[in-house]
């Protein structure tokens, strides 16, 4: 019997059975989907979130392990830092009250200073023999581990709330934002590795340019963790400032610019701020753009101070930004970003030539974390 005859001889009977089964299956699927469609979707989404949550947990644990082992190796095993690190990872920062915004910047600055001081003191207690640069790097590393812990806990919180309430919209929102969260978490993991090794990060492009300009000149610490060097640039006097390196540190550029301006009685023709900026998707990393205003990120204390003092003395502000992706800002500096240094310096010179006269004074501020960059 050949295949053809087999099919033709049994086709009517089998066709009926198969068609009936298929019809019943379709009907069952339709009814199930009508009543349980959203529930099935919720289950699928929860499963997807669960996978990401598991990865976040692995990353959090790995970050903690790296932090503990690095501190152990620097302290040469003199004490076990596990408890202290676990306590630091759970540390909570409570922002100042904003119901009455009057004086909020002063209060915010105070709280940030207290927090920074506490972290550095805790690290000093764990590694008493470490130098300043090492303490700064380790503090940054612990902060990256802390961010990994906080992200994991926040995602877990919304996952469990969604699971408990079976709320489609909570789960949907979490699932929608998850790819971006994963990208940011990966960036923090890379940051942790860079801080551990003391390598310059993408955010350090501002300090790197300032360091290039300052090289060979004498610099001094104008305020805590911030240095200034007086250099000659295109026949003008340039006060170049950056955070004090090579330890991981952002310094206090706002306070430094304010003090410099007060010292000079406002006799400054222009303030040029160089910083890394988040690029749009599609833009190339290391692309250089110019702007007007104070290009200083973070909580806003430094930005506020520069805006205040520049307005007081009516000093024009220029910004030069180097575009970077979210993953590049805190990971070891990419070649494309490092290669933008010469272009930025050319632009600084052009701005100085075009907007100031010979003999004038300008302030050039390299903003960002100066890890792995000295002066």
């Amino acid at each position: 019997m050949n295949i053809q005859s087999t099919f033709t001889s049994q086709a009517p009977f089998q066709d009926n059975i198969v068609a009936m089964i298929l019809q019943v299956l379709w009907l069952a699927f339709f009814i199930l989907y009508m009543f349980y469609g959203q529930k099935i979707q919720v289950k699928i989404m929860l499963k997807e979130i669960e996978g990401s949550l598991f990865r976040l947990k692995l990353m959090r644990d790995r970050g903690r392990e790296i932090a503990i082992s690095t501190i152990k190796s620097i302290s040469k095993g003199n004490s076990d830092p596990t408890d202290r690190i676990d306590r630091l990872l759970e540390h909570v920062y409570i922002p100042p009250v904003d119901l009455d915004p009057s004086g909020i910047i002063r209060r915010l600055e105070h709280l940030i200073n207290v927090r920074d001081f506490k972290f550095k003191e805790e690290v000093k207690l764990m590694v008493p023999d470490a130098d300043e640069a090492q303490i700064n790097n380790l503090t940054n590393m612990i902060e990256a581990a802390m961010a990994l812990n906080q992200i994991y806990k926040a995602v877990r919180h919304y996952y469990l709330i969604g699971k408990k309430t079976s709320s489609f919209y909570i789960i949907l929102q979490l699932q929608m934002i998850l790819p971006q969260i994963m990208m940011e978490t990966k960036a923090y993991a890379r940051a942790l590795v860079a801080f551990k090794n003391g390598q310059p990060i993408g955010d350090g492009i501002g300090p790197l340019i300032a360091a290039r300009l300052m090289r060979g000149s004498k610099s001094y610490e104008i305020v805590d963790d911030t240095v200034v060097g007086r250099v000659s640039l295109e026949g003008r006097v340039a006060y170049v400032l950056k955070a004090k390196g090579p330890g991981g540190n952002v310094g206090k550029p706002g306070e430094a610019i304010r003090q410099l301006l007060e010292e000079k009685g406002g006799e400054i023709s222009r303030i040029i701020v160089i910083d890394a900026a988040q690029k749009f998707e599609g833009e190339k990393p290391g692309e250089v753009v110019e702007g007007t205003g104070v290009a200083i990120g973070g909580p806003g204390v430094d930005k506020y101070k520069v805006e205040e003092v520049a307005t007081k003395y009516k000093i024009p502000l220029s910004a030069i930004l180097v575009k970077e992706g979210i993953g590049d800002v805190v990971s070891t500096m990419r070649k494309e970003i490092a290669d933008s240094v010469n272009e930025v310096i050319d632009r600084i010179k052009r701005i100085v030539r075009e907007t100031t006269k010979e003999g004038d004074s300008v302030i050039i501020a390299g903003i960002g974390n100066t890890i792995g960059i000295a002066q």
Partner: protein, 137 residues
């Protein structure tokens, strides 16, 4: 805090044994269906469909298990240090060493015997990163 490697290995063994059992059962069912067809000339569509689906699923699961886990970001990137001579500008590039930082003084220049310094430290973006950044528009 984290899942131990022993646990992960146990899970893998469990999964592999499940896949093997699934594959064996599917192959037996498929052989049975062939045997029935050869002996009685009857095509058992249900057995054919189920066994082929199960074999496909097993192969898919094995392929999934073989794929490398996604990068978490803790991988050590390849980082380079560029050393430049202050006088003649001669440059050398080597792998990053612990303790390197930009503007750190380095050895004497092999060409003019003047002091050199660390001019740059950078990493090269991996292919995955570059692929993500390629845009046509």
């Amino acid at each position: 805090m984290s899942k131990s490697s022993g646990d992960i290995r146990r899970t893998q063994v469990y999964f592999v044994s499940m896949i093997i059992v699934l594959m064996l059962l599917s192959l037996i069912t498929l052989l049975q269906a062939f045997k029935t067809y050869r002996e009685k000339g009857y095509v058992d569509y249900l057995s054919f469909t189920l066994s082929i689906s199960a074999i496909t699923l097993s192969v898919y699961m094995i392929l999934q298990m073989k794929t490398r886990p996604p990068k978490t970001g803790f991988e050590q990137p390849e980082v380079f240090t560029v050393i430049r001579c202050s006088k003649c500008g001669f440059e050398t590039t080597r792998k990053f060493k612990e303790g390197d930082y930009i503007l750190k003084e380095a050895d004497l220049c092999p060409k003019c015997k003047e002091p050199t310094f660390i001019y740059m430290i950078f990493r090269k973006a991996d292919e995955e990163e570059k692929k993500r950044e390629r845009y046509e528009l």
